[in-house]
């Protein structure tokens, strides 16, 4: 009995050693772009597959040595995995989104122009624009009326996006920002009823804890916002959109023609239609 036990254990061990080896091994080297120290680990773990392939990356030379079982995979397949983890190489460019997500010190110089179609960079871009705008607002009081309505609209869109995402902390943040901009604008044109009602409604949104009620107030915002957009000289098209389901039909404004419904969060994202396009 003991003997059998021993045999089994030995068998297991020998199996383990066999598993660690790569059969039909072929070795190739490729240039892989990387910069920071941690990239070595990411590249190697992206390309390593038990019994199939091992990758060792030389950070100084920027060269990956790939050893692989040529009956099970190809060097290209492994290079693809490496690229998908964020590192450009001889065969593949990493997806732009994945490259963008690399830590700042890991971002190497790419052999291609920066992509301008990235959805992500667009929205972050807009946000930073708003923030810098608010700063200039404090410093510089000489702004044109159109810029102001643009500012108000953009802040509204950010708040609307927060409603689309149904992210309450984001809603609070964006509503506060929106109110700040409204109040600043109000200082110059204190007689504007439109702005006053906007500011009051936004105040209610900030005070309210229940997202359903916040949405109701947000729906009420639409009419004064629509008036504001209608009177302003718009730099880009604004879409006046409708959701038939919320409160027996509610509207909102968006700068995208595609529907992103703010009244149900991510559950009924694309429900609704564009009623009017303001230009």
């Amino acid at each position: 009995m003991k003997k059998i036990y021993l045999l089994v254990t030995m068998g297991l061990f020998s199996c383990a050693t066999v598993f660690a080896q790569i059969k039909n091994a072929e070795t190739k080297t490729f240039k892989v772009k990387a910069k920071c120290v941690s990239s070595k680990e990411i590249i190697e773990s992206a390309g390593n597959q038990k019994r199939i392939s091992t990758v060792s990356y030389n950070t100084d030379e920027g060269i990956a040595t790939i050893k692989f079982d040529n009956t099970k995979t190809t060097a290209e397949a492994i290079l693809k995995k490496i690229a998908l983890s964020g590192f450009d190489n001889e065969q593949y460019f990493a997806p732009d989104n994945v490259y963008e997500k690399l830590a700042a010190d890991c971002k190497y110089t790419r052999d291609k122009k920066a992509a301008d179609h990235s959805v992500h960079s667009n929205s972050t871009h807009n946000q930073s624009k708003i923030q810098s705008h608010t700063q200039t607002l404090h410093e510089d009081h000489e702004m044109h009326a159109d810029d102001k309505s643009d500012l108000v609209l953009n802040a509204y869109f950010n708040m609307k996006d927060a409603f689309v995402q149904a992210d309450q902390s984001e809603i609070l943040k964006q509503a506060t920002l929106f109110k700040k901009i409204l109040d600043n604008t109000l200082k110059e044109t204190p007689s504007s009823q439109n702005l006053t009602s906007l500011s009051n409604l936004t105040h209610k949104i900030i005070q309210e804890k229940d997202i359903k009620k916040q949405r109701k107030f947000f729906a009420e915002l639409t009419q004064p916002m629509y008036k504001l957009a209608k009177n302003a000289k718009l730099k880009s098209a604004v879409y006046y959109q409708n959701c038939p389901m919320f409160e027996g039909g509610s509207n909102w404004l968006s700068k995208d023609s595609a529907i992103k419904n703010p009244f149900y969060g991510n559950q009924m994202l694309s429900c609704g239609s564009t009623v009017e396009t303001l230009k």
Binding site: T74, L84, A94, P95, L102, H117, Q165, N266, L269, C271
Partner: protein, 760 residues
């Protein structure tokens, strides 16, 4: 990726010559198609497939509007075949549906299809016999627009075009796939990682969701049913179009020839401009991505932005298990980020909300239509963000990596923002399609209004319309020239690509007179859509779900337009009976546990409504006994939760000397052998517990509660049974592979047992 596909008899391609004869500017375009068995290797295993002229996909057939097509099919298979011209307007006898528009093309014979080409656009063709489409019989069919056509669009119709045929590959025989689906075999879910077991639910913080789901008598939900080894574009997992350079615009003529897979289409080089759908021109619309339903076609235009880079055009299966890539342009390949995995429990939660306790779905009326309100969105991390309280290994690893990569705490927030901000993704839907021409129908024709409710039973894989499968319905008579206005409502849990033969229908959307023309309508759960067309061509036209496994399960109807005499189908009535029979085949299943205490097993034959099953427990000695119970039952009702049956029960068990069996009702039994007739019913209770009541001819009554296949973890299943004969059983099994599990059980008759359970 290696080019796995080997063209076996490729020299046949040479034989397929095309010649044309000019006849008063009208061309006769002829093709010879040789259909043969072949061996392919898509996944590392050699499997049988069917090639045409040595090719998979079948050769691309190209015609120009106004041509006459002559296509000779040489059947060199050992089985019958047929070819259907998907999306084409043609005489009914050329439509290629065996037993409906023609007889089967027998082995060793040649059949000629001939019809005038009276339209243009991207179409495709495929076999309409058995499971042949799944194993290679699909190909593109390009009908070119004449340059003199007033509808010729400069900048679109003169672009270089590439046919793109999407498909999938499984190493299993498609007939076996169908059988497994009917038996609710969850092997595909295990392969896909979508078991949604209790253990996984607990880890994801969704225990209550899972409980509610089973309370509502639902099995794990998924966006598709079958696991595929490979997804393919023109029969390759990865390929490149090197002939295009930076600045080039390329028109992709995409057809989805998959058997059951919807594909997400995305492009690494920027946005996608959709210019046609189902072979009909639409006003160009630019989107980030689109989903192509089974058997739909889309024409899209993409641009190559930068010199020396080849951009990935990716087709990802809707379940996101894998994808196929086409790199457009020369040079280094620019990848696109893979779509993140589905959040299944979010989907389950949504399903729970939509499903009523009687098994129907909430009817939202026309509020939900045209793919505009995609409920699946709750499962898409790229739109609704990553799962917040996910404790899975992966996120831990990535968190560690983040820290290693020198991310500060704020990086976590950054990521969530990333996920959310990408809800700027524009996805195409039918509401955005606008025809380039006025598509309104004649106001003089009479209108026939029809309503169909799409129905289904996931557990037994019965798919139907108005709760009736094809074998339970007659053809629907329509007068020639009449307008059919059909309201379709999907009350099932899956989306269905409904395809109409012989006509394009208008999909009524906000564009009114310019509503788009289509021949496949994807309809999502709970959606209501209205389509209309004028039935101006006589004949029997098939209307069915193009998920081939749904079609074979009975989700079909036939519109009988006018009184058409079909020379290719001498005995129409008999042929239709045979077709009905084919659409409700009997499926077989058997399993046996070879255990230390005996053999437990069952055998089942079933179709849409009937089931014949026999269960046995065979001990190794007389004391343990031998028992066989056989039931013939019929399922009733929409959800098939109720089954009535008649049965025969035989048992032999050597009893002890003064041993007396007494059931819960005080009835006694002292006999060693008994043979009894019985009748009774089975009802599925919440939590999927089967309650069975059975009365025997000797007056004995037996009540039983049983729950099988409780998904404890990804591969562990549990089961419980108790009845009024004071018998009980508990089991636990571990699924090793598709056909084998390790099972341990305790049985009141036979005691504790450990065994190997084989199933087919």
């Amino acid at each position: 990726m290696k080019a796995h596909f080997r063209i076996q008899h490729w020299f046949y391609a040479v034989i397929a010559f095309v010649f044309s004869v000019n006849l008063h500017a009208q061309k006769r375009v002829e093709y010879d198609l040789f259909v043969r068995d072949t061996i392919v290797n898509f996944s590392g295993k050699q499997k049988r497939a069917i090639s045409v002229n040595g090719q998979i996909p079948m050769p691309t057939l190209v015609f120009t509007e106004g041509d006459t097509a002559v296509i000779r099919v040489h059947n060199q298979l050992k089985e019958s075949t047929s070819l259907h011209w998907h999306g084409l307007w043609l005489p009914n006898k050329e439509d290629g549906v065996p037993l409906l528009t023609q007889m089967h093309i027998q082995p060793g014979t040649t059949y000629t299809y001939s019809f005038p080409i009276i339209q243009n656009g991207t179409h495709w063709y495929h076999s309409h016999s058995g499971y042949q489409e799944q194993i290679g019989m699909y190909g593109s069919m390009i009908l070119k627009k004449r340059e003199s056509d007033v509808a010729f669009r400069k900048g679109i119709d003169d672009l270089p075009a590439v046919p793109v045929m999407l498909s999938e590959w499984t190493d299993l025989k498609p007939g076996n796939v169908q059988r497994m689906l009917h038996n609710a075999n969850d092997w595909f879910a295990i392969k896909k990682g979508s078991t949604q077991s209790y253990a996984e639910a607990v880890r994801a913080g969704h225990f209550k969701t899972k409980l509610t789901n089973e309370w509502k008598r639902m099995l794990a939900m998924d966006v598709s049913d079958v696991y595929y080894e490979r997804f393919l574009i023109n029969a390759f997992s990865e390929s490149q179009l090197k002939q295009f350079k930076a600045g080039d615009k390329v028109r992709l003529r995409i057809s989805n020839g998959g058997a059951s897979t919807y594909f997400w289409l995305r492009y690494a080089g920027g946005k996608i401009t959709v210019v046609a759908n189902d072979g009909n021109d639409v006003e160009p619309v630019t989107v980030d991505r689109l989903i192509i339903g089974v058997s739909e076609t889309y024409d899209v235009v993409v641009t190559i932005p930068e010199k020396g880079i080849s951009y990935e055009f990716q087709a990802t299966s809707e379940d996101r298990t894998s994808s196929a890539s086409l790199f457009i342009g020369e040079g280094r390949k620019q990848l696109i980020e893979p779509l993140p995995k589905l959040k299944y429990f979010e989907g389950m939660k949504m399903m729970n909300d939509m499903m009523n306790s009687d098994g129907t779905m909430n009817d939202m009326g026309m509020k939900m239509s045209l793919q505009q309100m995609d409920m699946n969105t709750v499962m898409y991390p790229e739109i609704t963000g990553e799962t917040k309280n996910k404790i899975s290994k992966k996120s831990e690893v990535s968190k560690e990596e983040d820290q290693k990569m020198g991310h500060s705490e704020s990086s976590g927030i950054d990521h969530s923002l990333h996920g959310n901000s990408s809800s700027n993704i524009t996805t195409l839907n039918y509401g955005m399609l606008k025809s380039t021409e006025n598509t309104e129908l004649s106001t003089h024709a009479s209108v026939k209004e029809l309503q169909f409710k799409l129905t289904g039973n996931m557990n037994r894989y019965v798919w139907s319309m108005d709760d009736k499968v094809m074998s339970e319905t007659d053809k629907i008579p329509v007068k020639k020239g009449q307008i059919l206005r059909i309201t379709l409502y999907n009350n099932s849990m899956m989306r269905h690509p409904m395809h109409l033969h012989g006509f394009d229908f208008r999909v009524i959307n906000k564009n009114g007179a310019y509503s788009p023309l289509k021949n496949v309508l994807d309809i999502m759960p709970m959606e209501t859509n209205v389509i209309e067309f004028q039935a101006n061509t006589e004949g029997d036209w098939f209307f069915h779900c193009h998920i081939l496994y749904h079609m074979m399960a009975g989700m079909n109807r036939v519109f009988q337009v006018g009184n058409y005499t079909n020379p290719s189908l001498p005995n129409k009535e008999k042929a239709y009976k045979m077709l009905q029979h084919e659409s409700n085949m009997t499926h077989f299943m058997v399993e046996n546990d070879f255990a230390t205490n005996g053999n437990d097993g069952m055998l089942m034959l079933q179709n849409a409504r009937w089931a014949l099953n026999s269960e046995w427990a065979l001990g190794y000695n007389d004391k343990h006994g031998y028992e066989v119970e056989t039931h013939l039952g019929r399922f009733l009702g929409r959800n098939q939760w109720f089954q009535v049956f008649v049965g025969f029960d035989w048992r032999y068990r050597k009893m002890g000397h003064h041993e007396v069996e007494k059931n819960l009702f005080g009835k006694k039994n002292t006999k060693d052998e008994r043979a009894l007739l019985s009748t009774g019913f089975v009802y599925t209770l919440p939590m999927l517990v089967n309650f069975q009541a059975e009365v025997y001819h000797d007056g004995n009554v037996r009540l039983q509660l049983m729950r099988e296949d409780i998904p404890v973890s990804k591969r562990i299943r549990a089961g419980l049974m108790v009845n009024t004969d004071r018998e009980y059983m508990g089991e636990l099994s571990y699924i090793l592979n598709r056909n084998v599990s390790l099972r341990t059980h305790y049985d009141s008759d036979m005691g504790f047992g450990l065994g190997l359970k084989l199933n087919y």
